[in-house]
Symmetry: C2
Subunit: 228 residues, 2 copies
């Protein structure tokens, strides 16, 4: 960790521990330099860092202030810890609801660009965040491309497993809309039937351009994003 990052982390901790509200004025630059025993340059870098991560805002000629969003019960949309578009590995746990090898259903075959005579793994998992249902994820993997999958991989990161097996994962297309949950989906997510949900459809390509995975994820979660 660079020095300005360490100082940024300390100042962020201070703000969180003292539960400072939005708009709370922080000490000025000179005072902060003294408090953290650092140069002007390093302190300014630390502050820029905190500004970019939406922890403070700076008003020229006026000072440095705490930035805080009003709503807490939202999940970050973009950050790589648990975002809809990020990777879920760190904080999300998976409860496997189905693991089966089947012939590709017509709509799945179309998305995977295979025929309905091709075999796919269907893996249905409930994503759990902080002990509560977060998203329901149904994935289809082309057997001819991924090989035999042991059932045990379903509760872990399937992509990590595939990479270990030497699969070269390339790019993805993501489609995103809003749908009503059917009864089964709603039940898995502990919601009333016909609840609205975000749907994310992912089509994953190997780096040679072949599609090996189609997945659809349903989330009723609330997300936030912040801009500078």
């Amino acid at each position: 960790m660079l020095k300005h990052q360490a100082i940024a982390a300390k100042l962020k901790n201070y703000i969180e521990e003292h539960d400072l509200p939005h708009g709370a004025k922080l000490p000025n630059l000179t005072t902060l330099m003294e408090l953290y025993g650092t140069s002007k340059n390093t302190m300014m870098q630390a502050l820029k860092n905190l500004e970019n991560s939406h922890v403070v805002y700076q008003v020229q000629g006026s000072g440095i202030f705490v930035r805080r969003r009003q709503r807490e019960a939202y999940t970050p949309l973009f950050q790589n810890t648990a975002g809809f578009f990020g990777n879920f590995h760190e904080h999300i746990k998976h409860q496997v609801l189905a693991f089966e090898k089947i012939l590709a259903p017509p709509d799945v075959a179309q998305n995977l660009k295979v025929t309905s005579k091709d075999s796919v793994y269907r893996i249905l998992r409930l994503q759990i965040l902080d002990g509560a249902p977060f998203c329901l994820e149904e994935s289809f993997y082309v057997v001819a491309l991924v090989g035999e999958l042991p059932k045990s991989v379903a509760s872990t990161s399937i992509f990590s497993y595939l990479r270990q097996q030497g699969l070269k994962i390339g790019f993805s297309d993501k489609y995103f809309d809003s749908v009503l949950l059917d009864e089964k989906q709603a039940k898995a997510l502990e919601l009333p039937p016909n609840s609205p949900a975000l749907r994310l459809e992912d089509i994953y390509y190997l780096n040679d351009g072949q599609i090996f995975d189609y997945s659809r994820t349903y989330c009723q979660a609330k997300f936030f994003a912040q801009s500078n």
Copy 2:
């Protein structure tokens, strides 16, 4: 435009004009250099550029291929032309459905951090993309901060107008979830009542940390995003 950008644009045009499918193999690097009369370095930059914008993919030792997503009727989620998180200015037209000065309703007052005795402008607009309803946007501006707004600004970019008036727009918090449209909202978007929709709530701050705008936007649109 830099030379590699010009060449990237030409190659992209060629792919679009000839409606090349996903996986179509393009000429190799040497041939492309000859075709576009350019150096290896410039051609490689142009290809990297097209790879980053999801127009081609390169397979080491194999060649350069056309990348194309399968679904066309989706709007980019992130690009700055019409994305949910981008700016809508370029292609979106606004049809003003309401423009009024009112006392802040309780939920609005809470989001704006004002009292219900404070006046706000309420501006309801239908966003139209390619001639069809795209999103329904309801915005509330704090009169004490934005001053008097002429009705004519409602059909244009309100933020551009405010900047011209000297307002210093700072940062924003965005909240994002899935909801059912009520009858009025659905009607405006030409959808059946209780259709599911994405809701984006934006809280905009001046650069001194004061909230001047709260808006909620309802979209039934389908979005796409692509990753490398």
